[in-house]
Amino acid sequence: MDILVLMKVVPDVVEELEVGPDGKSLDTSFLRTIINERDDHALEQALLLKDKHGGKVTLLTLDAPDIDDVLFTALAKGADRAVKICGVESVQSTQTAVKLFGETIAKTPGLLPVDLILTGVSAIDDLDGLMAAPIAQQLGWAYTGVVTQVALADKTATVIKEFAGGVRGEYEVPTPAVLGIQAAEKPPRYVPVAKVRAAMKSMTIETVDAPAVEAATTVEVQQMAKPQVTGHAEMIEGSPEEVADKICELLAKRGLI
C-alpha cells in the first residue's frame, strides 16, 4: 500500500497578518509560513496506514521557506521519500497549486502508482477551491473529503466522513483514490529533534522542476482588509431577564438559534 501525501504551507496566523501595499494580498515582509494543519493530519493518517499495512509514504510539496525542516521532520516520523516542486514563486491560488501538483504527479516518473493520495481537506488560504477534488478529477480517481478514518483493504478504502452533530458516514472508496483529510485517527505524532537531525544526515530531499502551468483563475481579489474588531466585548446590561432577552436577540440575529 503506497501513499502520496500532498502538503502545502499557509500563513502562520500566530503572527499578526498585515495587508500588503497593493491592498489585495498579504504583506510578505513579516509573513511566516507553516504547514497546513490538515496536511499534517494527512501525513499522520498516511503514517498510521503505513504502520498497519507497510508500504511507502511519499511526500510532495511546493517549495517554500523552511520547507526542508518540514520534510525532514516528516522523514524522521517515518515517511520514505520527500519531493519538493522547485522554481515556483509563492503560490497565491489553490487552483494554481492544483495544476502544479496535478501536472507533477502525472509527469514525474516514480510518483505513481500509489493506492491513495492524501491531503488536507482544506486550508485557511483556500480561496478558489480545495485541492483534493480537482486532483481526483484530473486523475480520474474516486474522491471523498472531510475524512477522519481510513481502513485499507485490497482495492478498497473504507473511510469515515464527518457530517454534523457527531453523525458520520461510512463509505467504500475504490482505490486508487484521493482523500481530503479532516483529521487523522490520532493527533500528529511528535518526533524528537535528535531524530530529525539524524534524518537530515541520512536522508535527502528530492527536487523536481515545476511544470509550466498557467496561473489563471477567474477568482480575483479586489481588496483585502482585517475584519473589524471591537477589542473589548460589547457589554450587555440589565436585569437577568433583560440580559437573557438581549442575548436571545443577538443569537437569533447571528442565526445561531
Binding site: P11, V146, A177, Q222, P227, E234, A244
Partner: protein, 323 residues
C-alpha cells in the same frame, strides 16, 4: 445579469437543513440586485414534499433519482452539472457544510471552474458578483469577484438568519430529470454520535463553566442551557480538576482546542491557559461577576453579572424562541 441565481438546497435525512434557508435569504438579496430570478435546486429521492418548503425562491427545480437517496457527493455533483449545462445559471450558491462542500468542490472540478470558498457575504453590482470571503482563519477578509460562468460559491453558515429565508408561499416546483451512472464511491451507512463521551471539538454550541459556578450542582444549569442550544458543556481546568466534568470536556492549555459557532462562558475569568483553547470561537459570550475579568477583552459580548441567575433565564428565553 444573464442567468438565474441558484441556491443548492441541502436536505438531509428527510429534513431541509437550516442553512438552506440562510442561502435562500442571501440569494433573495443577490437576485434582487442582479435583477435575476432566484431558483432553488433540490436533489433527492422521494423528497418532493421538501421542495415545497423552498417558497422563498421564485422557482424550484426538483430532481428525483434513486441514486440521490444517499449522501454521495459525486451523484449530486453530476446531477447539478447536467442541470447547469442545461439551464445556464449565473451563479450557484452551495452551503459550506461537511455534507455539501464535497458536492460543491466535485461540481466545480467536473465543470473545470474554481470553487469560491469561505464566502460570508455576497452582492451583485453592475453585472458582477462580489463576495466577501473569510481568509486565514478569520484574520483577513477579502472582497473577491468571480467571473467564471457559472460562479460556484461556497457560503459559510450564518450568512443570514434562517427565518429570513423561510416563506409560507407555496413553491413553484418544476420536476427535472437527471441521468446518473453508478458512482465510484459507495455510501454504506450512517454512524450515529455516541451517547457516551462527547467530542466537544465537534460541537457547534458549547457552554463553558469555570469556578464561578461555585458548586457541582450548578452544573445542571449549564447542562440545561447546552441541551437547549443543542450543544455540550465543557469547562476550564479548575472545574475539571474538581472532577465536576470529565477530562474530555476540558478546554484550553491542558485540554481541547475548540472553535464552535457559539461559546457561552459562565464564571470563567479568562486565564490565558483557557483562552488559548477557545479564542477562535465564532461568537463568544462571557458572563462573569468581575467587570475587570480579562475574558471581556476576548469575548464578543460580555455580561457583568451572576451566571447562576442569568443562565436559567437565558435557557427559558431560548426554549420559548425555539418553540
Amino acid at each position: 445579469m444573464a442567468g438565474n441565481i441558484w441556491i443548492v438546497a441541502e436536505a438531509w435525512r428527510g429534513q431541509v437543513s437550516e442553512i438552506t434557508f440562510e442561502l435562500l435569504a442571501l440569494g433573495r438579496e443577490v437576485a434582487g440586485q442582479a435583477g435575476a430570478p432566484l431558483e432553488a435546486v433540490l436533489l433527492g429521492s422521494n423528497a418532493r414534499e421538501l421542495a415545497q418548503k423552498l417558497g422563498a425562491a421564485d422557482s424550484v427545480l426538483y430532481a428525483d433519482n434513486a441514486a440521490l437517496a444517499d449522501p454521495v457527493p459525486e451523484n449530486f455533483a453530476t446531477a447539478l452539472a447536467q442541470l447547469i449545462k442545461e439551464k445556464q445559471p449565473a451563479a450557484v450558491l452551495v452551503p459550506l457544510t461537511n455534507l455539501s462542500v464535497d458536492v460543491g468542490v466535485v461540481l466545480a472540478a467536473q465543470l473545470g471552474v474554481p470553487f469560491l470558498n469561505y464566502c460570508k457575504d455576497l452582492k451583485a453590482e453592475g453585472g458582477n458578483l462580489t463576495a466577501t470571503c473569510v481568509l486565514y482563519g478569520g484574520k483577513m477578509e477579502a472582497a473577491v469577484t468571480a467571473s467564471a460562468k457559472p460562479a460556484i460559491i461556497g457560503i459559510l453558515p450564518g450568512v443570514r438568519p434562517v427565518e429570513q429565508g423561510r416563506s409560507d408561499k407555496a413553491a413553484t416546483v418544476t420536476d427535472v430529470a437527471v441521468t446518473l451512472a453508478a458512482p465510484k464511491v459507495h455510501f454504506k451507512r450512517y454512524l450515529e454520535s455516541e451517547a457516551g463521551d462527547v467530542d466537544i471539538t465537534q460541537k457547534d454550541f458549547l457552554v463553558a463553566v469555570g469556578r464561578g459556578i461555585q458548586t457541582k450542582d450548578n452544573l445542571d444549569l449549564a447542562e440545561d442551557l447546552a441541551a437547549t442550544l443543542g450543544g455540550a458543556v465543557c469547562g476550564s481546568r479548575p472545574v475539571i480538576d474538581q472532577g465536576w466534568l470529565g477530562l474530555s470536556r476540558q478546554v484550553g492549555k491542558s485540554g481541547m482546542n475548540v472553535k464552535p459557532k457559539l461559546y457561552v462562558m459562565l464564571g470563567i475569568s479568562g486565564a490565558p491557559e483557557h483562552v488559548e483553547g477557545m479564542k477562535s470561537s465564532q461568537c463568544i459570550i462571557a458572563v462573569n461577576t468581575d467587570a475587570a475579568a480579562p475574558i471581556f477583552n476576548v469575548a464578543h459580548y460580555g455580561v457583568v453579572g451572576d451566571a447562576l441567575e442569568i443562565t436559567p433565564a437565558l435557557t427559558e428565553k431560548i426554549k420559548a424562541k425555539k418553540g
